[in-house]
Symmetry: C3
Subunit: 136 residues, 3 copies
């Protein structure tokens, strides 16, 4: 069995954002057992799982990803959409465009400290569209 | 229900390549709703989703990944298979060995600008083998 | 159909470790065709697929990831849990918290050289908990 929901997130600024509750708010009761995929339909933002408690972790993610994939000092060819665009594409592939989470006993079976992150890599990315697919 | 296809890609040179159409050409009609996994059976090439329109994006991916994981200046121990080999393994794990894509209304439900990339990280990687698995 | 198993790995030190056999030892006979997800319930360790034969590959992974995400020289804000903690979070998102593997003919359909890696990014991470979910 497959259930699927296409949703549009609120608008977020550049950086890493905890969206677990926003994603869950779009879902009905989950099945007892299965998997849920969270997929983003964009190439300059990504989805990952990480620490859900301390907002400085998300701030440090932004610092490190900007260092890993700098806007200047690299000889980019794809520059027409702004300095933030090409690094955004690379960052999106580094964290990936989807995560898959096990569902057990009717709940997302993630660790106590795990939360769903949106990595918004554009300065002004606008509202991002996700597809949530549940297989059970 | 699960459908599965094992395919062998054309040979690609080192770099990032758009393979969406080649993958689709191996598939029959897709189910109405589900997920499709594209899995690569190799450790020195990877699969990711990214921008499908401008080939300079793929060229910039190659530039940045070579900078992130250089062939020289790192004290690699695994060097018997050539200077490009160990960096290829690392790059493969950075982008990952598979992607999973939602299927909606009988089509891959990817964004307008998303395409499937093969990251070929060896100088002469040969033809790469993929497993396509559709759950619905 | 979905089968699911929650397991606890042996304790591993910091670094990359081949856990294919340990994961398989927790599984009964696999279905003929499907997918298996290996999910880690932690934010400072990750799961990836890579070369299963030469242990120097895993040593080189550790070298390169420490270089990509250094413990010193970055202005981290999240420092209360030790110098290794914040880099561990970043590394976990770079390789990801799960892999999905196709199952064909009752076996994991991975390449000859592919094995499941635990990336243990903490100095003393303790025993790590995984969820194995099989859809078929």
């Amino acid at each position: 069995m497959v259930d699927q929901y296409e949703i549009v997130l609120k608008e977020y600024g550049r950086g890493f954002h905890l969206i677990t509750n926003e994603v869950l708010s779009h879902l009905p009761t989950l099945p007892e057992k299965g998997i849920m995929q969270v997929f983003i339909k964009h190439t300059s933002a990504g989805i990952t799982l990480n620490e859900n408690a301390d907002s400085t972790v998300r701030a440090d993610f932004e610092t490190v990803f900007n260092k890993l994939v700098p806007e200047i000092g690299v000889d980019y060819k794809h520059v027409d959409e702004g300095l933030d665009d090409m690094p955004a594409h690379i960052k999106a592939s580094l964290i990936g465009s989807s995560i898959t989470i096990p569902i057990s006993n009717g709940r997302l079976n993630i660790g106590l400290w795990q939360g769903i992150y949106l990595g918004e890599f554009r300065n002004y990315g606008g509202r991002r569209r996700l597809v949530l697919t549940i297989c059970y």
